[in-house]
C-alpha cells in the first residue's frame, strides 16, 4: 500500500497522506462580526434578501480570467476592436456582454518595445468585475512593494526575462482605474480562430507577469 511505510512521521497528515486543515474553532474577528451584523441588519430591515446576497456572491465567484481572455483574443483578430478597447476598455467589455458594473477599465498593449505590468501598492485593486478574484500573491506585501522598485527582478521570478532594451511600464492602481494587459500575440498562434486564441490567454499574461501560452 502506498501509505504503508514507516520511514517518516505521519504527524499532521490524514490516513490518506493529506495535511489536516484546522477546524474554524477560533472566535470571529472584529470585521467578521461586523460583516455578519451588517448583513443581518440589511435583511431584517428588508433592504436585501439572503437569496440576493448569495446570488451576488455567486456572480462574483463565477467571474473568471476566461472573460478577459475572450476580450484579448478578439483584440488579436480584430484591429478595429483593439483600437476601441485601447480607447475605452469599460465600454467595449460591456458591449461584449460582460457585466462589469461601474468599473473603469484601461487596456494596456504590450508591444516589441513595451511590457506592461499591473500592481496596487496601496491595497489590492484588481479588475475583479472582469477577471474574478485576484491571486493571493497579487495581494502580498512583497509583490506590492517590490514590483515598483525592481519589476525586472520580480518578473524574472515569475519566469519572465525581458530584453534589456524593452521598456517596462509598471501601472500602480492608486485610485479609480483598473487595468488589463493585452499581451502580444505569440507567433505560433497566428491564424487561429478567436475562440481557439482565448485558450492561450493566461490570467498572468493579463496582469503582466506572464506571457500567453499554447494550451496543453
Amino acid at each position: 500500500m502506498p501509505h504503508d511505510h514507516h520511514d517518516h512521521s505521519h504527524e499532521g497528515l490524514s490516513t490518506s497522506g493529506h495535511p489536516y486543515r484546522a477546524d474554524n474553532d477560533t472566535g470571529l474577528s472584529y470585521w467578521q462580526v461586523m460583516e455578519i451584523a451588517l448583513r443581518e441588519l440589511l435583511i431584517e430591515k428588508g433592504y436585501l434578501t439572503a437569496a440576493q446576497i448569495h446570488a451576488q456572491i455567486n456572480a462574483m465567484d463565477s467571474r473568471s480570467p476566461a472573460n478577459g481572455a475572450r476580450v484579448v483574443a478578439r483584440a488579436w483578430v480584430d484591429p478595429e476592436f483593439k483600437a476601441a478597447l485601447l480607447d475605452n476598455a469599460s465600454e467595449v467589455s460591456r458591449a461584449m456582454g460582460f457585466d462589469i458594473g461601474p468599473m473603469h477599465l484601461i487596456a494596456l498593449e504590450n508591444t516589441d518595445e513595451v511590457h506592461n505590468v499591473v500592481v496596487c501598492t496601496l491595497c489590492s485593486c484588481y479588475p475583479r468585475n472582469l477577471l474574478g478574484l485576484p491571486p493571493d500573491w497579487y495581494k502580498s506585501r512583497a509583490y506590492r512593494s517590490r514590483t515598483v522598485i525592481e519589476p525586472r527582478k520580480v518578473l524574472s521570478e515569475f519566469g519572465l526575462n525581458l530584453p534589456e532594451q524593452m521598456q517596462v511600464r509598471v501601472h500602480d492602481s492608486t485610485a479609480d482605474m483598473r487595468y488589463i494587459v493585452i499581451p502580444a500575440q505569440p507567433e505560433d498562434s497566428f491564424g487561429l480562430s478567436e475562440e481557439a486564441l482565448a485558450a492561450w490567454v493566461t490570467r498572468d499574461s493579463m496582469i503582466g507577469v506572464g506571457l500567453p501560452l499554447a494550451p496543453k
Partner: protein, 85 residues
C-alpha cells in the same frame, strides 16, 4: 506636461503613494472627475477632483538604485496633489 507631486504629509486616507511624493513626471492622460477619497473615506461630501495619470521614470523615483532608469511607473494622481514644474 511636466508636473511635480506635492511633498505633503497630511493625516487621513490619502491615495497618493508616499514613494511618488515630491517626484516629477509627465501627464500621460486626463481621466475625468472623481470623488475625492480624502473626503469620501470619512463620508464627507467634498468637490469632485480631476484624476490624472502621471508617468515617472524609474531614475526620478529611485535614482542610482533603479534597475533601469528608462523604465517607467504610471499612477493615478488627483490634480490637487500636482503642481506645475
Amino acid at each position: 506636461m511636466k508636473v511635480r507631486v506635492k511633498s505633503h504629509w497630511p493625516p487621513g486616507h490619502i491615495r497618493t503613494p508616499a514613494y511618488l511624493r515630491g517626484k516629477i513626471g509627465n501627464i500621460e492622460r486626463h481621466i475625468g472627475l472623481f470623488n475625492n477619497p480624502e473626503d469620501s473615506a470619512y463620508r464627507q461630501a467634498g468637490p469632485q477632483r480631476e484624476l490624472v495619470r502621471v508617468r515617472f521614470h524609474m531614475a526620478e523615483i529611485w535614482g542610482a538604485r533603479a534597475e533601469r532608469g528608462e523604465d517607467v511607473i504610471e499612477a493615478e494622481i488627483y490634480a490637487h496633489w500636482l503642481e506645475p514644474v
